[in-house]
Amino acid sequence: MAGSVGQVSLPPVELAEFPILAQRVHGNRLAYLDNAATTQKPRSVIESMTHYYEHDNANVHRGVHLLSQRATDAFDAARVKLAQFIGAQNPNSVLWTKGCTEAINLVAQTWGLANLGPDKRILLSAMEHHANIVPWQMVAERTGVTITPIPVSDEGVLDIDWLRANLDETVALVGVKQICNALGTVNPIGEIATMAHAVGALILVDGAQALAHAPANVVADDLDFYAMSAHKAYGPTGVGALYVRPEILRDLAPYQGGGDMIRTVSWEGTTYNDPPNRFEAGTPNIAGVIGFGAALDFLTRIGIDRIHLHEESLLEYGTSALSAVPGLTLRGTAPCKAAILSFTLDGIHPHDLGTLLDGHGVAIRSGHHCCMPLMKRLGVPATARASLAVYNTQQDIDQLVFALHEAKRVFA
């Protein structure tokens, strides 16, 4: 199964594990290259949720009947899996959220509101996703904290020297993507964490694009906050997670109010439960969490190393294949890059490309990728983006290149 043919390796999974890939799109084979937006789901993930609904569905934690116990067991087991997957020692340092966006908002609304003020600064990489910009702008409006972007080079490399020169004890937080969804850049989060901690700042890493490709080890990388989305890692929509360093989590003020997050409620006053419950008000996305657990099982079964090798081999092939297309400019050429190929093509707007490629069964994304400030920095209104996953093949890239040539014919 694994192995390499000529220069590109074969996927370390059976494509038949992904039911959606079998379909035809406008009469063509589907080349799904929009994985940074959301990955497809293996059968095991889909079935874990179907199984839950057909056998175990019940509300968690509060019931004493068998279904509730089964649901609770499966729900709690997923938390242990995720903690292990990212190297967290205590499963209770992992909180379930709606997704990566909510995870970052949770940090902003709890830790941020309590710890930021006009005398503090937040440094965010200039390549951040809106999800790691806007929540802080909203907190800045309330607290007066200053937000400063960490510069990025034309190639999409973060300016670490600038960061080193600008870190001082007024900096409360450094926020950075582990892998850039728009350019593929892999940022040196461990190094940044060390630098941040040296001046007493905390580090928040947006791991949305990394979980399925090269996840952090929150202990080895010494992270304070790590945000994730299941749907970008072969898991379901509607569920994500936030890791918080236990020492910070212990005293963190609650987030949303409601059931499960309280110890006692009375009209005179309410006391709160311990983490993680304190941050998980209301009925959670039980099926989603179980599906997330199944996605982690899938990743563990295939092995992040094998996934990484395969995607690297595709990236190399894709980079040279795209570079050979006349008029095409790759955007994001950092030396340390994940398997994301962002580009522009002379004379064809990315949206038109998106539609034209779709006509050939090739699904890519075009637009600002929720990184408007980065697009402005790079001087492009939008890019087209092919983002790869474990099930992609050389054929997918060849199909993309063929479709690009066809698109050029239409606009010739």
Binding site: H349, P350, H351, P381
Partner: protein, 144 residues
């Protein structure tokens, strides 16, 4: 897929060589349109004299559909009265969003109806149409 239907000759022509590109210095009306999902953006300026659109100019960045719509519409409504222009833009709007089949009165703009089969692209076409309507209905510039 009817890509040929979407990217008709006339649309590609207007996208590559947009007419009326550039903002007017003496505009009496102005509006801006923005599509938050894709980042497309258009700024539109009109000069209206005695109820007639005497000049029209736009700038913006966007896909071929967005640019062609702005260019085609500008060409079509220059010289029309504001009422006629509003009515015409409404007709075009309906034609690109609904299934109505009488595209005769649209002239060159009939080419835009190909977008109907591409729901995710309809917004590209309507960006300029909404901008024109905004300019005419609420875009009057106060004279200093």
């Amino acid at each position: 897929m009817e890509l040929e239907n979407l990217y008709q000759e006339i649309i590609l022509d207007h996208a590559k060589k947009p007419r009326h590109f550039g903002l007017l210095v003496d505009a009496t009306h102005r509006s801006e349109g923005h599509n938050p999902l894709c980042g497309d953006q258009v700024t539109l300026t009109l000069e209206v004299r005695d109820g007639v659109i005497t000049e029209i100019g736009f700038e913006g960045c966007g896909c071929a559909i967005a640019l062609a719509t702005a260019s085609l519409m500008s060409s079509a409504i220059q010289g029309k009265s504001t009422d006629e222009a509003l009515q015409f833009s409404q007709q075009v709007l309906q034609a690109v969003t609904s299934q109505c089949d009488d595209t005769e009165p649209l002239g060159d703009l009939a080419a835009l109806t190909g977008v109907r089969r591409f729901p995710m692209r309809v917004k590209c076409a309507t960006l300029a149409l909404h901008a024109i309507q905004d300019a005419l209905t609420s875009g009057s510039i106060e004279r200093k």
